[in-house]
Each structure stands twice: as structure tokens, then as C-alpha cells.
Symmetry: D2
Amino acid sequence: MTNSTFNGIIAYTVTPFDQNNDQINLDVMYQIIDDLINSGAEAIAVLGSAGECVYLSEQEWQLVAQQSIAHIAGRVPVIVGICELTTKKAVERAIFAHDLGADAIMVSPFSYYKLTDNEIYDHYQSISDNAAIPIMIYNNPMSCGVDMSPTLMLNMIKHIEQAQMIKESSGNIQRIHQIYRTSNGSVPCFNGSNHIALDAFNAGAQGWCTVTPNLIGDLPKQLLQAIKNNDQTLAKTLFFQQQPLLEFITKHGLAVTVKAGLTIKHINAGDARLPLKPLPASEVEKLKDILTLINHNTH
Amino acid sequence: MTNSTFNGIIAYTVTPFDQNNDQINLDVMYQIIDDLINSGAEAIAVLGSAGECVYLSEQEWQLVAQQSIAHIAGRVPVIVGICELTTKKAVERAIFAHDLGADAIMVSPFSYYKLTDNEIYDHYQSISDNAAIPIMIYNNPMSCGVDMSPTLMLNMIKHIEQAQMIKESSGNIQRIHQIYRTSNGSVPCFNGSNHIALDAFNAGAQGWCTVTPNLIGDLPKQLLQAIKNNDQTLAKTLFFQQQPLLEFITKHGLAVTVKAGLTIKHINAGDARLPLKPLPASEVEKLKDILTLINHNTH
Amino acid sequence: MTNSTFNGIIAYTVTPFDQNNDQINLDVMYQIIDDLINSGAEAIAVLGSAGECVYLSEQEWQLVAQQSIAHIAGRVPVIVGICELTTKKAVERAIFAHDLGADAIMVSPFSYYKLTDNEIYDHYQSISDNAAIPIMIYNNPMSCGVDMSPTLMLNMIKHIEQAQMIKESSGNIQRIHQIYRTSNGSVPCFNGSNHIALDAFNAGAQGWCTVTPNLIGDLPKQLLQAIKNNDQTLAKTLFFQQQPLLEFITKHGLAVTVKAGLTIKHINAGDARLPLKPLPASEVEKLKDILTLINHNTH
Amino acid sequence: MTNSTFNGIIAYTVTPFDQNNDQINLDVMYQIIDDLINSGAEAIAVLGSAGECVYLSEQEWQLVAQQSIAHIAGRVPVIVGICELTTKKAVERAIFAHDLGADAIMVSPFSYYKLTDNEIYDHYQSISDNAAIPIMIYNNPMSCGVDMSPTLMLNMIKHIEQAQMIKESSGNIQRIHQIYRTSNGSVPCFNGSNHIALDAFNAGAQGWCTVTPNLIGDLPKQLLQAIKNNDQTLAKTLFFQQQPLLEFITKHGLAVTVKAGLTIKHINAGDARLPLKPLPASEVEKLKDILTLINHNTH
């Protein structure tokens, strides 16, 4: 089954902490959400990689899910991220997200022992059987230690009721090709690798899951619009304008980079959780320069 | 600082569950511990990879730590495994293990976002600063998504007070060489890659961290003894006798394989937690054949 | 220095052999060249990977270079491939190609012992110093055992007189991005990875080096034209129409696949040289189906 | 079929050049051969990786083969290296070596296009069918671009008449394990990875193919002898004494390192062929220190 609720720019929140890196800072979280909606994002995703989902306690994860959905209040659809080592816990969180009224969940397997395709399939099947909420299958091999092939994901889309969309973050453009061609473009495929955003759109991705609106507002949306208008010259210009940031994010990690960028923008979302360290000062300077240059070119 | 409490065979427990894969089965856990001590193991390690540490709830992890230490009751030293995504949680568990009277903790970083050497170093430093218990630095890149070089680990041994031993599970014999030669054999290095046990001993490993005594009793200890006796002919014979099991474990994973093997031995430790699946029947048959052949050659 | 002689579709010849795989079949070679020119190719490249350059004797290599240039007779520019293990031999061939009147040479390092960036740089410098003919720097890590970074290649373009163009065949779209953005699009960059042809054009590649016109005539040229017309809808359709062939070629190898395809088209170019074997019959059938479907969709 | 002519230390020659890197320096070649025989090597191998086989012209390769065999004159058995891209050329060289009276040939596939197991098998079969000389199957994936599994190599040993020995240079100790255990130690397996020499002997390797006697005389032979005497303490001491050199060679390459080392020993074998560059001065100093320390510890 496939889902057509979502498309375009799906903007991701970080999870802001207070000064001790201890408590969730809800006020900043609300501001971040409002800024993303103002950037024109078609949907908001919370508790993804950028949201440090696996670094939160159960209570924190629930709090963020609950407060985000309440604050968004239907202005745009909401996706809640679930990345759990056990099927049992993933199912519990899926039910929780569904009960809160989330529009979809984004589920990635997380591995310590490597998982077989069968094990992954049944993981998604169990979630689908227990929670009546659309699932975005999320492939993020670098962080999750497990790589789902297009074949496996399309097979799950075909047979598992709630598996309705794919988010591909392997960074390999051929995966997007294969999903598009094998499904004749019928399966909603979202690109999660910032640095291949242009290529993914041109190869048939239905949308872009990205944290970048936190730092560069509606530029990602402008890129999407140029693609929709079949204006490749503008699309290429917009892509290469953003590309230094996209490469920087890919190199330094979503949460750490976005939190540094928010600080530059005087939004205090705190740091990522230890052992993750803030960007070193020299890299903060580079990020500042990148953002300044992008904004300068914008106006 | 280095530690000389440990050497020889450090045997690992699995965490046995009841039929629903839900509750810890303490009775079976005690039996497993007793069997390992009877196999001649010089120490017992609980809550390692084999113990499904990352798949347990906080309460379960605490229960296993507590009950294991109580049941071992000083018969052999006990090591408690800690594999956490945040430094804060790792510190909490280190303090908990120390308070219980564990003899050491075995700490591996666990990553979602990749970690730099600095981030890893400070992770260990924080643990050492907060809990007065010897740390075995555990490198397991396949499962933890982070690979610590010999240089980094030796540097931590040199400068971080409680970092006193290394467990190397990358499977690369040159890492053992490098640790041995760089430290002139002064740093206790334990091999955690079953399939290179012979090579690691000959290259200077002080011990072998292994689950195999759960299935083949004192054969690992016999191999160690042959090495100590400088009897390479016997050591080679003993190694190649065990090797099919060592390869099988490496291929199918510690927890899943040992639980299947215990079932073959009529010890009901349940299955590993979903999404991990039990060995398929055909592989169980292969494991049976391997164990039968090993035992046949033993007597 | 950069060169603007070349752009668009650069079509590659295979080297046809007689029945015993022994002698060059010149008549078939002329026919192949004529067919490629008729397909609208902007240039012809001989003695590339597809031309089995490294499998030919010195005499054969010279014969193919000579006869190809003579037969093309200025109808389109000609590039001659050079892939040698020693600098001395590469220089000799560069001089030979220049003396024949080739318009450019395409040079890839070939390695047994791994090469450092310095060694590669000086290899190209020596060629440039000894032969006054434009060099296309050819990065083909899979076949040549050496991977040149965009930074290294752009550095050579900047400082080595005859190094004037890049052919990127790593299959990594980000390499094309990096070359385009770093050079502000000023360095002629040709994509040599068939399966990312659409992405490479959209990311700023100036042309496509490809064997596909041997099998599907002017379809690659049509794709290029759609891109030039800023018609992404058509470009995407044309790309996905060709994509099964592009993936098939990437999987089975250029020379073996094209020779099988030519046989299907009743052009007898013989087989690739042993130890390379012809496609097995089952794969020939698949290739037939792919070509039939592509041609069916074309008309 | 297996062969028991060879075992122990098989010492490799480099191919010495004159000052212009142009002509083979036969006088130095004779001296190198005599020194290797004096170091106690059980056999000499010429035209291997160290001998820059793939960087020589046909005439040079023939000259080295001919003159080496003539100069060795039966004092020890001789193996001739063959590493060719085409089966035809490999067969020609095998016949040539056989006609010269070589005792064996060491054959590695060399790849531009990747080779399948079938293609490799038939390559060896053709050589065996055409030249009545024992073949040592040589697996060197790093340099040759092709990795032969133990299963493939053992299968060839079983079915191809002249395939009689294996040289394993992947650097993976488990390959040696697998060959030893699968064949019950019946297939002569030679280790070609210097840095795992100790491990390979202990795991059942019948010999060590090595260039090190060129620089450290009979130390490799002493290591072998300690293993034969079942004296692991001495074997370990001897291995770790040599290990810095073994690691250095693995890092910098056989030909380049040995030629630098010979120069240090006032034997002028020239440099490796361009594009390979001589060791930079700073690395030459390191090599000097390593050799000085090894020799100091020896006396």
C-alpha cells in the first residue's frame, strides 16, 4: 500500500536541551517548529536522527512526541521517528505515536547484531499489525548498522499494510533510480541524503527529508519549486548554492551541525548529548562563513 | 595503569529468558554460571554481546548484574558489560556495577552518530572519574559501529586511571601484534574474536574472552594450557578441533548460536530477543553435527 | 589549461577480433566506427576500456590507433586511450598518438603497486612534457586499481599544460558535483559511468563517454538533447528507458556486453580476450530482451 | 595433485636496474641470488611482485628468467613468476619457463575487467594443459585486483594437474586456517604476507615466501627453525624483532622498500620503475633505523 499524504519538503527538528544538556527545552522546541512551518515545509518530522531519538530516555521521547504534535496542532502533517533495537519497544512507540494522533511514523531498524532480511521484514510486520498508522521505511545504514536494499523495501511496501513510503538515506543515487524504475514511480520515495538532493529530485524522489530549513529557511523549498517548474538552470544554481552546507552537514552530523547553526542564529538549542561534542570553534567559523555566503547569494 | 587480576579464559554468559522471551530466567542463569565455573574459566563476564546487554531494559540489566554477582559469590572474578549510547548512562551503570562489587567493567562505546577519538577518550575519562572500578576497553567495531585503533586504546590505558585492560574483537590479528609490540607485552590484551584464538595467544594475548565454554566446556582452557606448555602441536590440534564452532559462531552471532547450542544440550535459555530470530532448523542441525564431532574427538 | 573541443556524446569502440580471437578484424572496426558517427556522436574514442586496450599487444594497439584515425578521417575528433603500468610506455604511446594526428589522448594510470598522488602527478607531467596533445584525465578506480580524487585531478588540470579534461568513472555522483562546484563549471568533465548519466548531466557534466551508441544508436544523444532543451520530463523518460541496459553493462563489463550485443545485431566483433569469457547464454537472452524493449519503446 | 618439493623459506629477488632504470643489471642480480642462497633459503623465486614482473618488457622478463636459472644452477629449486592479463601470454610464459628448466611457476591472475571464478579456473587449466610444470597458485588481491577464495584454490588443486601449491597473500590469517583445515594440512600452503608470518606458521603454513632475506639474512629462517623446534618463546621474540620491517614493507611495497634497503647495504639495485618513486629520504632514515635495531638485537 502506498500513501500520498506526504510530499515535498519534510523538515526535521532537533531536540533542544537546556544548558546542562539535561532537560528538554520546550520553548525553543516550539520556536523551531514554528520556524520550520514558516519556511514552507509541507510536513514536520520529529525524533529522527537530527532529533537524537536514540539518545533520549523513554520519558523524554514521549514528551517530545506529545508536545510537538500538540504544538503543530494540525498546521502540517507530523511524522514521528522510531529507531529501536527490539521489536517490542518499536511496537510500543508506534502505538504511542498513533494514540497521540501522529500522521505517520518513520521506522528504521537499529542493530547491534546484524539483521537478516527476514528479521527486518518481521520487525515491520509486527509494527504494522499492532498500530494503524502509516509507516515510512527509513534506510540509514551508516547510523543504524543495517542496509535495506530497494528490493527488500519495495517488497515490504507491497505486502505490509502500513508500510507506505520509503526514506532513502544511503547516499547512493542508484537506490533512488531503482526504487523509481522498479515501481514505475508509484512508491513515494523521499531522499534523506542532503548532498544528493538535486540528483534525487531529478531521478524521481517525491520529496526531501531535511534539517536544512532550520538554517537556510525556504531555500530547499525553492529548489523543489524550480524542479517542479522544470527549470533546471535555476535548480542547479540553487543546489550548488546550498551544496557547501549539505556537504558540511554530511561530514559533521545532523544534530551537531544544526545545533551549532542555531546558536549562530541566536537560537539556543543546547548541544548534542555526550559523548557527542559540539563543533570545534574552527569548524563553527567555517559554518558561519558557509551560512553567510548562502544568505548573501540569496538576497 | 594496567591490571593483572585477569587472565586466561574469561567465559561469557548469555541472558536466559522464559518462554515468552519476556522475563529473565534466573534459575537457568545460575546453572549457566555454575557450568562456566566448572569448565575452569578464570573469570565470568556478564552482560556482554552474548548477554544481549543492549536489548535489555534498565531493570533487567540491573537484575542480571546483581543476581550474577551474588550467585558467583567470589568464586571467580566478575566483569560487567556496559555498552551505552550516552556517557551519562554509561557512568550510571559503572557506578551501579562498582556498588555491587563487580571486579571490573567492560566498556564499549556504542554509536549512532560516528564518534571521534576525542569523543571516545572523554567518554572513558568520565567513567573513570566517576567510578573506582577497573575498565576493560572493548573494541567491537562490527556491533558498536566504532573502531578504536590500538594507538587510541593504548593512549587511554596510559592516561586514564581505570582503563587497565583491552579486549580486541576486530578479528584482525595485526591489532593484537601492535598492542603487544608497542606495549612490550605490558598491557593485558584479551582476544574477543573466537576464530583467531590460536593466533592471538601466539601473538601475546593474555587471555581469551569467549562464550564457547557454554557449549564445549574446558576445550578452550585446554588450548590455553597447551600454549602455556609451549606445545604447539597439541595447541594446533585443539584449535582446529574447535574451529568449525568458532567460525559458526562468528557467522551466526554469539547470542543466537549459544542459545541454540544450549537448547541442544537441554538447557532452556530461551531465544534471543526479536527482531533477532532463532537459528533456522537446518543451521541447528549443522550446529548439532559440529558439537557432536567436537565432543567425539574429545573423548 | 582546459579544452573546449569536446562535448556531448563521446562514443567508444570495441576492438573486434576474428574468429580465433587472434587478429584485429579491421572491416568490422570500420563498420563500428561508421555506425557510431551515424548515431550522432560528437567524438569517437578508441582503445578505452571497451577497446580492451590492456589486452592488446603493442603492434595491435598501434594498428587500431592508426587505422581508426585514418578511417575516421576528420569526420569527428578522435581520442586515443592509454593505460600503462610504466610512465615510459605511456609516454611512448602518447607520442605515437600525437604523431598519428589524434585530437586528444585519454590517460588512466594502471597500478600493480598502489600509487601515491605524487607518483600519479609526475606520470601525467611526463606525458605532457613529451607529447603536445591534450590529455583527458581518466579516473577508473575499479579497473585501474587507483582512485584519483577531484582535488588531485583539478590540481593537475591547473598546473599540467596538456591536462585539459576529466573523465570521471568512479560512479559516485558527488565527484561530479565537486568538480563542477570547485571549478565553477570551468573544467570540462565527462561522465564515464553509464548508470548515472542523467544525474551527471544535471550536475554539470559536459558530456557522456559511452559505448551505448553501439547498441542503441542515438538514444544517448536524445537524452543529451532533452537536457539541453531543459526538458526534464523527457530526459527522465529517456534515461529510465535506457537504464536497464546501463545497469546490465555496469554489471557485466563493457567489452563483453557490447560484443554480445553486436552479435545480437549481427555484427561479428568476436569475443573479448581470454580469460574473459563471453556472456553465458542466459544472460545473452536477458540482453536481447532489454534491447528489444528499448527499441520497442523508441518507435 | 600436490607437490612436496618446496617448503621453508622461499626468498624473492628484486630485478636490479642500471642507473637510468633502463637495463637489467645482471651482475647485481647474481650477487642478490648468491646472498639469498647464503641466507639459507630453501628456494629462490624470481619475477614475483618484488621482481617488478608486470613492469618489464617481454625481452627483460625472458632475460631475468634465463639468467637467474642459469646462475642458480641447481643449487636450490627456482620458481618463476607469471602475472599476465591474457591467458595466451600466461601460457607462452609458462612454456618458456618450463623450457628453461624452472622447477615451478607461480601464477597470479591479473585483472582489468573483474574475473569470475570460472574465468580464473580456465586460465589455470589452460596453463596446466600446455606446460608440464608445477603451478603455485598465487592469491594477491591488492595488486592483482582479483581475490581467489580458499574454496576456489583448493578446487583447482584438486582438479588441475599442475596446480600443486598455494601462495596466500591476502593478509587474512583465516584464509590460512581454512586451507589448512579443509585440506587436513595436505595442500602445501605458503604465506606471502610478511606481517603475519608467525601466525601463518602456527596455523599450518608450510613455508614463507619473502623478500626479507635480502635485508635481514637468515632471521626469517631462524623464525622457521624456532617453529620447527616447537619453541614459541623464541619464535615470538624473533617475530617481534622483525615485525617493524614486515610492517614497513607492507606499507611501502616490496620492490621500493627492498631496493632502498639494498642501497643502504651498498648493493646498487637501482630504483623501481616509474611511476613508482624511490622512498623519500625521511622514510629511508626510518628504514635504516629499523635495520640497525634488528641487526643490533641479532648480535
